[in-house]
Assembly symmetry: C2
């Protein structure tokens, strides 16, 4: 048999990865449709169709011949650095995925379908009890998954690693331990000051105008509408089928201007990242996002450091008044800025301010950790939840819908996802400071509604890297230091000193 | 090794067919999205993703072990009749699909993507020359496909069989030969009479109102909106992902009321069929439509025998006036009926009346036959086209867009599809006459807008049968005779005698 050249082998690898990606992204199209346009009676078989595609992609990726191809390519020296990186990451993925039987992938996917529907039902009936048996089943499967994957210290580590390679309970205990007290102190300080007014957000804002305004903002931030689209869904999300088809969704509440606007900007941040991934690496690791933490750093950066900044409020204020002359006619840009940055302990994570948000995450982190290690049972979540909310935020959920039934994540089997929201916020602040130092025209740009210099900097330094570096490496490369909480804490301090006068 | 029971084997067969169906229908979701919501830049990779799924479904279905399973099941006597029928049809499909290499499936799918895009471009530039090289390539591949599949007399037979099992050039030559002269005579007779007025269709009809009216009509005909939805696309179509998710699309022309309305009813006919297929047979032959001819019989039956009937015009007239008081205020139901049944040779097949429509089909049939047998080359289509239109309809296309570039079918590689439109119309008339004889409450129902008796009759006699019987068998079972042209011709005669007074 003639020995194949590295070029030939790499082409075969690309081709197999392309095929697997086609299936994975086909599944993503089915999920997008499920959340946007699926007629109600179509739900049952849709779940099954998605399960089949997941199982199929997993089977193809973990075939013996795929392993043999990767093994052979790992020995080849005459590949480019990027090619070597793809091979090494795919090999890591292969070794990991290989540990999970395809039948288990299907079992998990089917369990997720069931649990998702029971969560919907539980929310409708506003009682966690309807959801907890399915959740308990899912937790058992996730524990099994953790055993399949293996871990050094804590079973939850295996799941955290799925969302952000290298993330562990130990590291997160440390990060959250470091930030918990300073945040609590800052919160107490703010709560002692006179509160700012955000009542202007809760006027009547017609659906069509909000929709048009949201699209306008998306375009202004640089989202390419030719390579994506916006639709309505119950929970806003971003989903990609390749870098030329990255879609966002939003929701509109006619009595709450905030519900759509900053969620649009948040999803735009995710979407700008996906649209900026290297198209030529479709299906390969270097064509994917670095991690969910880095993904979240992008959404937070745009949502908070841009969308909730004084510069943004001041520059976009005339646009806002143009769309909503009646609602914002008597308001000033300064009042807008203060109002949308109001700090107030509240029940719903997705509506929380930038400070109290992290208590929502920490509570969820503690619950997931306890569920996976077995020190908490699904049925006991509501009591634990309420205890923690009383402790950190001094509030109590009047019902499960506004309490432990509020998030979709657990019903999807996504344990280990929540911490990336906080880590993403911390990274966002660190990245934004680095951008400010590196890009001279950045500040002027933000003052005048030109976001291109910032976007270009992110494209060059972060988006185009794909998954070449993990979160830690990427943050060191770009900001010169490990990811930490300092920039974030300083950012909050500066913002709230200014708003709350202390 | 323990011999498996027939029950176990049949369950394994069901399971494998379910999986293949999941993939096929996933591909259908991607196609639906492609025609409705796909952002422009997403088109290239979307085509590739669809090709991968087609190839994958074909590979799974033609695996050796699938053949072995079917072989084993063919020997089993202890299966129900329906189970035996599924096995025998799947075996037929298997033997047929097995003849086509998976690599060829991919090659064809890729060629279709290319040719579809070149057709779009050719239409934009209004020149057939842009399309003809890709079309020639596609014709070459379809000839190859015909060779793979095999045929007794004419290579085109192999392709016709794909859309309607048992359909051949010989049979179609006979049918079209029989109807050509009577239709031409009837047309000449009508053209000698004073023309009816349909100018009321070309007023301004606001988009939103048309949309709402279309949905209203869909619901009135019995289309289940919980198991489907309507969207906008350039070319109206019906697509199904299972009997609980059957979607239709339409197009709206604000200056032509006919463009949407009867296309809505047409697609409703297709959709009612798919929604009525037996849900429990998902993925199995008996869960599928009998043939494209039968499919078309359903769309034509609802579009023409219901939607263009005097009863429909008269009962729905108040609704029409309610939606469009200005446009239809001065009109009568009788004038509406006459106008929407106006016979007039015209350029565009989809806008043709019920009589001249079949000349459009015959011309396409002759072209396809000649292309596949090699007596006509793609590049010579425009000249041949114009010659035939002059001959049968005495008109000339001013450009290719209104001539041989008007249909999407060839760009999709669908050679053999067009004849089912005519056969479907002929079957529709035959079925409708049978329904009238069998269902006592039918006429009263139609006079009073109750379509349930007709729908129920179709459900019981046709929809629920799936693919258990082929077109011929089904028509004999339901109407007591082979499909023919008599009922159709009589229907036309009655209709036009009344409208044109001869």
């Amino acid at each position: 048999m003639i020995r194949k050249t590295s070029k030939e082998l790499y082409a075969a690898y690309r081709e197999s990865m392309r095929k697997i990606a086609d299936i994975r992204y086909a599944s993503a199209v089915l999920q997008w449709d499920q959340e946007t346009y699926l007629p109600p009676k179509g739900a049952a078989i849709r779940g099954q169709q998605i399960s089949t595609l997941s199982e199929m992609a997993h089977q193809l990726f973990t075939e013996e011949k795929q392993g043999a191809l990767l093994q052979e390519l790992r020995m080849r020296e005459d590949l480019t650095d990027k090619e070597k990186k793809n091979i090494s990451l795919s090999w890591e993925d292969y070794e990991k995925q290989k540990k999970i039987p395809s039948a288990f992938v299907r079992e998990l996917s089917d369990a997720v379908n069931k649990s998702f529907h029971s969560w919907i039902l539980a929310r409708k009936e506003n009682g966690f009890a309807k959801f907890s048996p399915e959740l308990a089943h899912l937790v058992a499967l996730k524990k099994k998954e953790a055993e399949y994957l293996g871990y050094a210290e804590h079973p939850y580590d295996a799941l955290l690693d799925e969302f952000d390679k290298g993330s562990t309970v130990n590291k997160l205990n440390k990060v959250f331990g470091d930030i918990r007290t300073p945040l609590k102190t800052l919160l107490d300080k703010i709560m002692a000051k006179p509160q700012v007014d955000d009542s202007f957000l809760r006027q009547h804002f017609p659906r069509d105008k909000q929709w048009a305004f949201g699209l306008d903002i998306l375009r202004r931030l640089g989202y390419d509408m030719e390579a994506g689209r916006q639709d309505i869904s119950e929970h806003p999300f971003t989903i990609n089928f390749n870098s030329n088809d990255v879609r966002v969704t939003t929701r509109i509440d006619e009595n709450d201007f905030g519900a759509m606007t900053w969620s649009c900007i948040h999803e735009a941040g995710h979407a700008l990242y996906e649209q900026g991934l290297p198209e030529e690496e479709y299906g390969l690791p270097c064509g994917e996002a670095a991690s969910l933490t880095i993904h979240e750093s992008q959404s937070r950066l745009w949502e908070n450091h841009i969308g909730r900044s004084e510069a943004f409020c001041s520059f976009q204020f005339p646009l806002l008044q143009q769309y909503f002359p009646e609602q914002f006619g008597g308001l000033s840009a300064a009042e807008l800025y203060k109002g949308i940055n109001k700090v107030q302990p509240s029940l719903i994570r997705t509506e929380a301010d930038e400070l109290t948000y992290h208590f929502h995450v920490m509570i969820r982190f503690d619950i997931e950790k306890a569920l996976i290690e077995g020190s908490l049972h699904a049925v006991d979540i509501p009591a634990f939840w309420n205890e923690q909310y009383a402790r950190y935020l001094n509030i109590e959920a009047p019902d499960d819908k506004r309490g432990c039934l509020q998030d979709i994540h657990w019903s999807h089997g996504s344990f280990g996802y929540f911490p990336t929201y906080s880590l993403g916020s911390f990274c966002a602040a660190q990245l934004f400071d680095a951008a400010r130092q590196s890009v001279p025209s950045l500040e002027t740009g933000l003052d005048t509604g030109h976001y291109q210099p910032l976007l270009q900097w992110l494209r060059d330094n972060l988006h185009r890297q794909g998954r070449h570096y993990n979160s830690n490496e990427l943050m060191i490369n770009i900001t010169g230091k490990e990811p930490g909480i300092d920039n974030f804490y300083q950012y909050l301090l500066d913002k709230y000193k200014n708003i709350y006068n202390f």
